[in-house]
Symmetry: C2
Subunit: 346 residues, 2 copies
């Protein structure tokens, strides 16, 4: 009875406590699938508990917070909620992988104007799936119902990953030298950046909608744009067992031109050969449709390569060999030369 | 030149790269003030690096993600952006403190429709201030400009804290027994929960605005409602050096009735004496104005006590003594009795 009064008072204020309880119940079954041996205790505690793995002599935690940007609007438009969680976790895994870290756990933040327990469940289902695939615990999170801040079906999804690396194995790019080689691993599509620009070009300028079939892509736009941001964990971990990777750049917001310089020492320039990998059709299509300058493209998009690795020239053959055994493509996309720090496209 | 083309394309899509760069510059100066000795490397890396403190034999990480809820709308209404960051960090510190953890680092997520660098700076200034006060590093974060998701001046602010505790010192309530005593530390006001309900009562039902002066509170409503969520770190840490605290409950969303049961073992009931502490005027005012049932009040609000500690009766005098030396009030608010797990108000 008292509980109902409380629910009524809150419901009148736009906060649905029953929906919250149902969402928790639905989410919990998925979160349980993404436990790892480090997780202590159960859900419902104030904070999530994670026992640090042993065997590190100077353990360093690596953490990154990110969102999925305006890709959330496409999810709403598609009524497709089960992949943005994967986008977010995979993106986050890559962001700490570039410093050599293995994921330990992930914490999510899901906020919306009116909590729909089914949507919350699908979001968390995607988060849990990607966590399992990356051997990362989904340790906790927050589901916030915020009437007045989020409108209609709109929501936001963000999260924080925490990983670990031995201090002397942190990858920071400082050993990169002229003569080193840049190798690229393919992306699955747009990944998680540039969506405000993409929406403007395709929906506002071209007047398309998510159902528009694009012959050049052999797909409806919605299906192309919702392709899941992939994780590079398994490939990079396999390489790190055998190879010294000197630098790793995750090509997200800022594309090639802003992400590669983040790992370069001074007087090192990345010479990128643009035709050394297959540019995905979606990027060619966007460039034509939006009449975008090449520099805009390489400053915004991954162009078909989601992860760039810098290795000594002497190790290139072995890298290619190892990646091939994983049935993954890998492309030699450029080299490091002496010059002002930056990226030079040729 | 190319950069301008890029900026123009993005600006047309509602994303202002120049504003982003200015925001980063402004935020950076504040983030620098919240470094601790664990922080490795500088800003600009893909992930933040944090060296684990030594001296733990079985280190357990404790993590919590939270937002400030619809208190963000009040911040917009007041044009007052420098305290919600403090609310968020202090709230988070308390959420892991209840399991015995000391904060290591904090990661923030700030999202808005149109990035205003001055607002971003004030938000981060507040985050950094609270991080310094809690000896917690502001290790990194994400600033997202999401046109179409957030409207007008609206924004959202969330974050994740990571702390550490020795495994055998984790506080989980399992040693709580009938006869133990509940002690309460005062809150500063509403803290960070119940704001959707508060907005409905005061603004929709009563027709007040943020400038309305309320004689019973001796304050304008905006000033009352924006009072900063306080941290209990220093008091609880001082106690933990001398006392075995069996359970800690942070009274946030769910108030007394939902938070205290989270730490109770089965067959333990918390008997709470309602007139054992001074209920803050804001709660009396809200109860009258909203004609809210007592159960709603205790299920939603902290009623003037933000942290409840459960200790053995034999340690009560010492707790009171220690807290007094810190010039803090502390109230004996109830006791544990045998009975069905839950809270009984008397």
């Amino acid at each position: 009875m008292n509980k109902n009064i409380s629910q009524d008072a809150y419901a009148a204020a736009g906060v649905d406590i029953k929906a919250g309880q149902e969402a928790v119940r639905r989410m919990r079954s998925h979160v349980r699938t993404a436990r790892t041996k480090g997780v202590l205790g159960d859900l419902g505690a104030f904070g999530g508990l994670f026992r640090l793995p042993s065997g590190y002599s100077q353990p360093v935690l690596v953490s990154s917070t990110d969102g999925v940007g305006t890709k959330v609007r496409l999810a709403v438009g598609m009524g497709s909620y089960d992949t943005v969680g994967q986008d977010l976790v995979n993106h986050s895994v890559n962001d700490i992988l570039v410093q050599g870290a293995c994921p330990l756990f992930f914490m999510d933040y899901f906020a919306t104007g009116k909590l729909n327990p089914l949507v919350a469940e699908l979001i968390v289902k995607g988060l849990a799936k990607a966590c399992r695939e990356n051997q990362c615990a989904l340790l906790g999170g927050e589901t916030a119902e915020m009437p007045g801040v989020y409108h209609g079906e709109d929501f936001d999804l963000a999260g924080t990953i925490v990983g670990i690396v031995e201090k002397k194995l942190v990858i920071d790019g400082q050993r990169i030298r002229p003569g080193d080689v840049l190798l690229g691993l393919p992306s699955s599509g747009l990944h998680t950046n540039g969506y405000s620009l993409v929406r403007r070009i395709l929906f506002q300028q071209m007047g398309f909608n998510l159902q528009t079939f694009i012959p050049e892509l052999s797909l409806a736009l919605g299906d192309e744009l919702m392709k899941v941001h992939r994780s590079y964990l398994s490939v990079v971990q396999a390489l790190l067992k055998k190879i010294r990777i000197k630098g790793l750049a995750h090509l997200t917001g800022g594309g090639w031109l802003e992400n590669i310089p983040r790992i370069l020492p001074s007087a090192c320039q990345a010479l990128i050969e643009k035709d050394s990998w297959p540019v995905l059709p979606v990027f060619k299509y966007l460039q034509d449709a939006g009449r975008l300058d090449e520099a805009v493209m390489y400053r915004t998009f991954n162009m078909g390569i989601g992860m760039v690795m810098v290795v000594a020239r002497s190790e290139v053959d072995q890298v290619i060999q190892i990646v091939k055994t994983l049935r993954e493509p890998v492309y030699q996309v450029g080299e490091i030369v002496k010059g002002p720090k930056g990226v030079h496209l040729v």
